[in-house]
């Protein structure tokens, strides 16, 4: 039977600890829920290390563990906690190979969710990592993608920021690109927005608006495929959707796509405002309906 993303992660963590004898670190790991069911029920003797609640120090301890030869998995329960967790990772681990020729590989599991959980716990915050040299960023939303990212990490000695989303944990399906010859619109989609964007693409197709859809798994390095540029150049308009603020990775990637093509690529992520807890005050990633409205507005339909 096919596994969900949740089961896939759990299996990867189990093997990382029990077979490969590395460690996983984080806060409140061995608690009810085992971080959304993605952690096996293991304890410190097995390599599941409970850190204290000191976020900044926790990130530093994991850097030290990586320097000592561990290939730590670091679990950050809400991506917004990276504001405290990532400083030492970004300023030491990411630079270590370049400055001291000492690799410091860490597999950071940053977990996103949103909806009534406020400005810190909500959304993805992968843009925080994006500007630092020496980091690789991926946002896997399917079981195969997750395995691929982990396998690549195990062959590499870089810091990996893995931007997860709880909304994908139940997913068993792979998400295929749509790449037709004469699109009206092209979507590039990151993280959880991929599910809504492909939904929108399918509905729009029924309404005779042809949409090409491209999954963005790797945010950094961002290797632009020739087919993407072709798709952008053949479209009237293109969009890049994200679950982080619009003034972040989405804008940077849109700029890179525009530099290589001759057409506009519009970044569309979270609005430039803080999320409140009530439904009216929240700041959510674009839904299929939002995306369809946006497309029709630009196409003047």
């Amino acid at each position: 039977m096919e596994k969900t993303v949740r089961e896939t992660i759990k299996e990867i963590v189990f093997k990382h600890l029990k077979k490969k004898k590395y460690k996983a670190y984080g806060q409140c790991l061995s608690a009810v829920g085992w971080v959304g069911g993605t952690l096996p029920e293991l304890y410190e003797k097995d390599g599941m290390v409970e850190l204290s609640m000191a976020d900044v120090a926790g990130g530093g301890i994991v850097v030290g563990a990586a320097l000592a030869g561990d290939r730590p998995i670091y679990v950050i329960r809400y991506q917004g906690f990276n504001w405290f967790n990532c400083p030492i990772i970004l300023n030491y681990a990411c630079k270590s190979k370049e400055i001291w020729k000492i690799p410091c590989p860490i597999f950071i599991r940053g977990i996103a969710m949103e909806g009534g959980i406020g400005p810190v716990a909500g959304s993805s915050h992968h843009s925080l990592y994006h500007r630092m040299p020496g980091v690789k960023i991926a946002s896997p939303m399917t079981p195969k993608e997750y395995k691929k990212v982990y396998q690549q990490f195990m062959k590499d000695d870089s810091v990996y920021y893995v931007s997860e989303h709880r909304g994908s944990y139940g997913n068993k399906e792979e998400i295929k690109d749509i790449n037709k010859k004469n699109p009206d619109v092209t979507f590039f989609s990151i993280s959880i927005t991929r599910f809504e964007a492909i939904k929108a693409a399918k509905i729009l197709r029924k309404e005779k608006i042809n949409v090409n859809f491209h999954n963005i798994l790797w945010l950094k390095p961002f290797n632009i495929k020739q087919s993407w540029i072709k798709s952008v150049n053949n479209s009237k308009i293109s969009f890049i959707f994200d679950d982080d603020y619009r003034d972040g990775i989405a804008s940077t990637l849109a700029h890179k796509l525009m530099s290589k093509s001759q057409k506009k690529v519009i970044p569309y992520g979270l609005k430039d405002k803080s999320a409140g807890f009530s439904k009216d005050r929240d700041n959510l990633p674009p839904s299929a309906a939002d995306i369809m409205r946006l497309v029709k507005k630009f196409l003047k339909k």
Binding site: G60, I61, V62, V63, G64, A68, D70, I88, Y92
Partner: protein, 279 residues
């Protein structure tokens, strides 16, 4: 090694550090060294004593220093030529031209480089020791010890009973801001609060020897009251009245140590001269 041999060895290392730093001072003044340097003159007996004790114990510790680290590098056996080259901004320096003065490292002596953010060596050293379980020395200043993540990592090291020696090189100054204007507590008291053994000593080498039996058996913090002879960064003197332990020890033991002092001065001066000639 008896007490006299220990003191002699410590003085030898301190002399190498002192004359190395005096050469750096001179070359900063001449603008041959062009980036910020953090001179450790005045504090050299800390690393010299610890290195001598480690050799005596046949322990090769993992070292996590911070920016004021030339004496640590030299005391623990780092290649001095490579350090000169690093300070001259050459790519064949000990950190390939990337480290300058503040971020030097040496794989050979297990000294990890510092990233420039005060106190990060605290949690990083703790994490490394948690995995390796090897004897580890984390060097902090009285200022970097105040970083919240340093305090948190002390607590975790104590909880996990790691074989770490936390050395606070307490020169009482954060650039020029004195400790009394920043806090009303002491690091050795904080360590005790974390259920860790701690000591408050001055940088007399005998003080390290007295407590060395406990090193690397459990986490220990030693707050060492010391003096920075020169500016926080660069070549300059804050006060000519600053206490200088090196001069005091030399004066007290002139008969036996003057020869060592002369010999080390000559050796280090020649080393610098040769490396500068290769420029």
């Amino acid at each position: 090694m008896n007490k006299n041999q220990y003191l002699k060895k410590t003085f030898e290392l301190a002399a190498e550090c002192r004359y190395f730093e005096l050469n750096v001072f001179k070359n900063v003044e001449k603008k041959i060294i062009k980036f910020p340097v953090y001179l450790s003159a005045g504090q050299e007996f800390i690393s010299a004593s610890l290195s001598t004790i480690c050799k005596q114990k046949k322990v090769v510790p993992e070292l996590f220093p911070q920016h004021r680290c030339h004496s640590i590098y030299i005391s623990f056996g780092g290649d001095k030529k490579k350090l000169v080259n690093e300070l001259l901004g050459k790519n064949d320096g000990c950190t390939y031209g990337m480290g300058g003065s503040a971020s030097i490292h040496s794989k050979e002596i297990k000294m990890f480089g510092h990233d420039g953010l005060m106190g990060t060596q605290g949690p990083i050293g703790v994490g490394s020791c948690f995995v390796s379980k090897k004897p580890t020395i984390i060097f902090l200043g009285d200022a970097s010890a105040e970083e919240d993540y340093v305090l948190a990592s002390l607590g975790w090291a104590s909880f996990k009973k790691l074989p770490i020696l936390f050395i606070v090189e307490d020169n009482n100054l954060s650039i020029l801001t004195e400790k009394k204007t920043r806090r009303h507590w002491e690091m050795h008291d904080v360590a005790k609060g974390f259920k860790m053994k701690s000591y408050n000593i001055d940088d007399n080498p005998l003080n390290f020897l007295k407590i060395s039996d406990r090193f690397f058996k459990e986490p220990i913090l030693v707050n060492v009251n010391t003096n920075r002879l020169f500016w926080h960064a660069g070549a300059g003197i804050d006060s000519p009245k600053t206490f200088d332990r090196y001069k005091l020890i030399l004066k007290k033991n002139e008969k036996s140590y003057k020869k060592i002092d002369d010999q080390k001065k000559r050796m280090i001066d020649i080393l610098w001269k040769k490396q500068l000639e290769k420029q």
